[in-house]
């Protein structure tokens, strides 16, 4: 039983991103920080244990979980049926405001307008899953390794449109780039979930309880304010 193990061990091992701001990136001391990190700390605190953060990438976060090297994956995971066959998901813990962004000159207002255009996304991220669902047949989707690849591809003109989080777009704008990403339309508001191994009902229940209480006591809202610059929507 994972929950018992965690309590016995006194630490909660959490896989967190370090190359996916604002959910996870690093400070000048290379320590991870971001929404997912705060969430991990929050859960550990509620469990009364210490946190052990394990920085992961999109390629290895699930193997970390499956080989029991971590207890939870808090890595802005999106949910789909195939993924659910492999791991369990908690209740959603974070909203994810996905938008399609492009410079002013590009005329795009809805998914159909992407037809014939090249859109950059970060491989495996929620926006990748969602965009793949809504895009029409002749939309070309380029999937980069991490946010940085997506952003660099946009800034260097390799793609004219990107699908990414609104916060990421804001970060790009803050750098005052020659190409200014403007929000064209929102992709379905798809929340993030915490991933954990299958058949751990005790842990799952505990995590869900923590999320529920964090929602009600406002701690989740303050995390969201801090990292996403907005509160959590009511339907989360």
């Amino acid at each position: 039983d994972a929950l018992a193990d965690i309590t016995a061990r006194g630490t909660l091992r959490v896989a967190v991103p370090q190359d996916f701001p604002p959910f996870g990136s690093v400070g000048t001391d290379m320590a991870p920080m971001g929404y997912d990190i705060d969430m991990a700390n929050l859960i550990a605190e509620k469990l009364g244990v210490k946190t052990e953060l394990v920085p992961v990438t999109s390629a290895n976060r699930i193997p970390y979980l499956q080989t029991n090297k971590v207890d939870l994956v808090i890595s802005s995971l999106g949910k789909n049926a195939e993924r659910e066959a492999v791991i369990d998901f908690s209740k959603p813990y974070a909203p994810f405001f996905n938008g399609v962004f492009a410079p002013e000159s590009v005329a795009v207002a809805k998914a159909e307008d992407l037809s014939g255009k090249t859109v950059g996304v970060t491989r495996g991220a929620i926006e990748d899953l969602e965009l793949t669902k809504i895009a029409t047949g002749d939309t070309v989707i380029k999937r980069y390794e991490d946010n940085n690849g997506t952003i660099s591809a946009f800034l260097s003109g390799q793609v004219e449109v990107v699908a990414t989080g609104n916060v990421v777009a804001a970060a790009i704008l803050a750098k005052n780039p020659p190409k200014r990403p403007e929000l064209k339309f929102l992709i379905k508001n798809s929340p993030c979930y915490i991933g954990l191994n299958k058949n751990e009902p005790a842990l799952l229940e505990k995590v869900n309880a923590v999320i529920a209480s964090a929602k009600s006591d406002g701690s989740l809202t303050s995390i969201a304010q801090k990292w996403l610059g907005a509160g959590i929507p009511a339907d989360l």
Partner: protein, 223 residues
């Protein structure tokens, strides 16, 4: 803990894998052909070519051999557009492989040229061939033949190294594995399968290159 291997995704995702294999094959085919050609040109410059060109080629070779392929790839894909050189990720991946193999094969081929007996140059000269004609018709083929096995190994190293081109969204075999695992979370299965395919590709590629060698060099001469 028990992990249940499940390859059911193969049914749905095999076209992705297949495309990945094809892209990898395309990359290495173009990369090997053009990379070796570039290597030959550079080896010529470094061993026989105009003196004023040599420092430039030396700098190129040293730069490439002493920095990681991934970094070279990033500079080509994200950096060149700022100089107005826009290219697709496939072209960028290919260019990076050509430049990379060019530098390595330059050194390998140069060793082959240097092992050429002096008499071959002199025989060419005494038949009124210019130094370049001598290189082209007399020196080149035996030099390549001498170092062909080393060159084959380098091509395979470059093919395996090409797995990082997925980072710029080039849809090669590794991209396929990553893509599949990002959808299905079946990382082990995806990586097992792609590793096995790489192994098969490496073995096949060596066979093809050896066969190409025995086609280009009709005989193994005693020298």
């Amino acid at each position: 803990m028990k992990y249940m291997f499940d390859y059911a995704w193969l049914a749905q995702y095999w076209p992705v894998l297949l495309k990945g294999i094809l892209v990898t094959i395309q990359l290495i085919t173009v990369g090997a052909a053009a990379g070796i050609a570039l290597g030959i040109a550079c080896a010529w410059v470094r061993s026989l070519g105009p003196k004023w060109l040599r420092p430039a080629v030396t700098a190129y070779v040293e730069l490439i051999r002493n920095t990681p392929f991934l970094i070279q790839l990033f500079f080509i894909f994200f950096g060149l557009p700022s100089l107005g050189l826009q290219m697709s990720e496939f072209q960028a991946a290919n260019l990076a492989m050509i430049i990379n193999l060019g530098a390595y094969s330059c050194e390998i081929i140069r060793a082959g040229i240097q092992a050429t007996p002096r008499g071959q140059f002199e025989a060419g000269a005494s038949l009124a061939m210019t130094p370049f004609e001598t290189f082209r018709h007399v020196i080149l083929v035996p030099s390549l033949q001498r170092i062909w096995p080393a060159l084959c190994s380098q091509v395979i190293i470059v093919m395996l190294g090409s797995s990082v081109v997925s980072q710029i969204a080039a849809e090669d075999l590794t991209f396929a594995a990553n893509f599949i695992q990002s959808r299905t979370f079946r990382a082990f299965e995806a990586y097992f399968v792609s590793t096995a395919i790489y192994l098969v590709l490496a073995i096949l590629l060596r066979q093809v290159l050896i066969a190409a060698g025995s086609f280009i060099f009709p005989r193994r001469s005693g020298r």
